[in-house]
Amino acid sequence: MKTLIVNIRSWRIWPLFMKELRQITQDKKLIVSLVLPPTLQLIIFGLALNPEVTNLRLGVVDESRTAASREVVSAFVESRSFRVGDYYSSPDELSRAMRAGKLDAGLIVPSDFAKRRDRRETASVQLLLDAVDSNTAGIAQGYAARIIAALNQRLASPSGQESVTLKMEGSSGRRGSIAARIALLYNPGLESTWFIVTGVLGILLVLNGSLIGSASMVKEKELGTVEQLLMTPAQASEIIAAKMGPLCLLLSLDIALALVVGYTVFGVPVRGSLLLLCSAGMLCIFAGIGIGTFVATFSRSQQQAQLMGFFVNPPLSMLSGATTPIEAMPGWMQPLTLLNPIRHFSTIARGIMLKGAGIDVLYPNLLALLCFAVALVWISAWRFRKQLG
């Protein structure tokens, strides 16, 4: 046992590791940049990317002006998805207001509305939706359909001799009906932040890892201290490993930070194994640092490395399904996301945190992440050696 410890301590990588660690902990700016931006990003992302549809501004043209028509309007307002922006006297005026972007939706109750209701005919109202934002319009359409359906049900039940007779007819011989019983799993409250926070976590780990990895590598190059490192008996792979280790330790603080922020600010739970999540996070950080060092082998200065980052980071974060659903991407693009470590990490993070999944389900993603980490580190070590050899 004792010899083992002595053995480990005599590894060449050890002093290198300690040197890097000391260098990093002395860099106050680096530590601040590791803590502050991720926290801010997580909070702003979580707060700002909110697809919830409430308080849509509804313009109303009530040509009927009866109790029946007011009932329709109040049904819309009660739902809290809509609020009345203004009343207009004609459809033309309404359409002008919509065109100017003052309204999200318009409701037109025609003049024969009450008459048709009295005659027990189907009375129709017209609902106009500003579909420039097609997502919001689609959801609003669903809400409106539900509001009208609920109103119909309410109108039918107290007054309805008709409905009673129909029901009897239905049970005697005619076919029944089919309904969808819908259960929303894992996130029954439809908290959109849960999706965003678990996705942004992966983006943060990879992007911060790559940023810091490339910065610390290029700094050595810029200052010319890389030659000094090469003079030591350590091998290129050892130098790289010693560089990455402390960074990895430091970045793992980001995992803890993000989990705390996610839990306290947004109430995102961790339903599965925390240990598994952290190890997946470490792999993700490794992949990020690997990307950073890889980029660093192509650039001579900090500024160049950062500009190169623009070619790598946007595709990485956008083609990951971390903030938008993968199914919404074009078909040919969807398989490409499998090459993205962030995609695998978001699957893992969502699996562990929200679905309580374990390693038996998530092993393909973990394996993929491991492959990325190893391959990226290996390639950058190889390029680094070639450049300096």
Binding site: S134, N135, A137, A145, S171, L185, Q304, M318, K355
Partner: protein, 370 residues
């Protein structure tokens, strides 16, 4: 005036000499625009659905066929003996539909049969849309198979006719692409300007400027003019791409957008120059511009979700984000087409913002020059 032009020409020559910067300036905006326009979308199609059919009758097969026929859902195979929830946890499917035994029998007897839908609601927005699709698909199926529409009220009392205006095809690219256009122009022109400006500070060539006869505003205007020219080139390329790839067309009077573009580019270039003047270090300047512009224009400009959804505590910030006004302008020009009456405020605000940034940069420069 002559000195401004000379300064601008010098700046352009310098930029064209640096190959990395040049590709950054002209190629990257296009890549990013294409990426943002295609990858960021919220209208899902082909959502993977696992169906577990315990009934195995004509009716249940018809129901599955109805599922298969819809563009939204894509049925993927799943062995009956494995737990269906595993398909959700491993993200091989987003939805599980369980058709219980006696599905057909109950229906034929006139009762209510239920198909159980388990929806992975981690992505709340998609789940919400899926919920709507699931019930409308089932209602349509139920009606088609000769039954009352579920609620057994017979004829509905009120019917809503819904019209989707301006974007009847529900095409989310019509919404995202104009925004992507704005984000690209928020990021790259100021980035180049900030780089050039902070390089002067970093390499101390700014001292030569101090001792020359050029005054602070001439120097700044020269820089801004040069990068404005590049920005216009980027704008033209991006516009061509957006029209070609995403099929954007002017919906109405294009002049608000043209005037607004000039103001917007002036505003974002001035912002870059201001940052560059404040931070005489290229690496930090890049980080500052990229961080601020990307975060603000991406998150607080109404690019993906409506601004009214942002909590009030930070919503006011979005009023300070130039991209927000340009996105409004671009969406109006390409989709709604309402023209000057609705849009006059946007170019005004952008121009004022540009002047503000210019003023700060000028204060900074004049201060140093004294």
């Amino acid at each position: 005036m002559k000195r401004i032009i000379a300064q601008a020409r010098k700046e352009l020559t310098q930029t064209f000499r640096d190959r990395l910067t040049l590709t950054l300036a002209l190629v990257l905006p296009l890549i990013l625009l294409a990426l943002l326009g295609t990858a960021i979308s919220l209208s899902v199609t082909g959502v993977a659905v696992v169906v577990q059919d315990f009934d195995r009758t004509q009716l249940s097969r018809d129901y599955i066929d109805a599922l298969k026929a819809s563009l939204t859902f894509r049925v993927v195979p799943w062995p009956l003996n494995r737990r269906a929830e595993e398909a959700l946890t491993s993200e091989q499917a987003r939805i599980v539909v369980v058709i219980p035994e006696h599905f057909e029998r109950d229906f034929l007897r006139g009762g209510q049969s239920e198909a159980q839908w388990l929806i992975d609601a981690v992505d709340a927005n998609t789940a919400n849309t899926m919920r709507g699709q699931a019930s409308s698909l089932t209602n349509a199926f139920s009606a088609q198979h000769g039954a009352g529409n579920g609620s057994s009220t017979g004829q509905a009392a009120i019917k809503a006719e819904m019209r989707m205006w301006y974007n009847p095809g529900h095409d989310s690219q019509q919404f995202i692409a104009p925004g992507a256009f704005a984000i690209v122009l928020a990021l790259f022109p100021p980035l180049l300007a900030a780089l050039a400006m902070s390089r002067e500070g970093e390499q101390k060539t700014i001292l030569q400027v101090y001792v020359s006869s050029i005054s602070a505003h001439e120097f700044l205007l020269g820089k801004i003019a040069a990068f404005f020219v590049i920005a216009v080139a980027e704008w033209a390329l991006a516009l061509a791409l957006a029209m070609g790839l995403f099929g954007l067309r002017f919906a109405g009077d294009p002049t608000p957008l043209l005037v607004g573009t000039a103001c917007y580019l002036f505003c974002s270039v001035s912002f870059g120059v201001m940052v560059g003047a404040a931070i005489p270090n290229q690496a930090s300047a890049i980080q500052a511009v990229a961080g601020v512009q990307f975060l603000l224009s991406f998150l607080l400009s109404g690019f993906t979700f409506p601004i009214s959804n942002i909590p009030a505590g930070i919503r006011w910030i979005s009023a300070l984000v130039p991209a927000r006004y340009f996105i409004e302008l671009a969406r109006d020009a390409f989709v709604r087409g309402s023209g000057w009456t609705a849009m006059w405020h946007a170019p005004t605000i952008l121009a004022l913002g540009g002047m503000f940034f210019f003023f700060i940069a000028w204060r900074k420069m004049r201060h140093m020059q004294m």
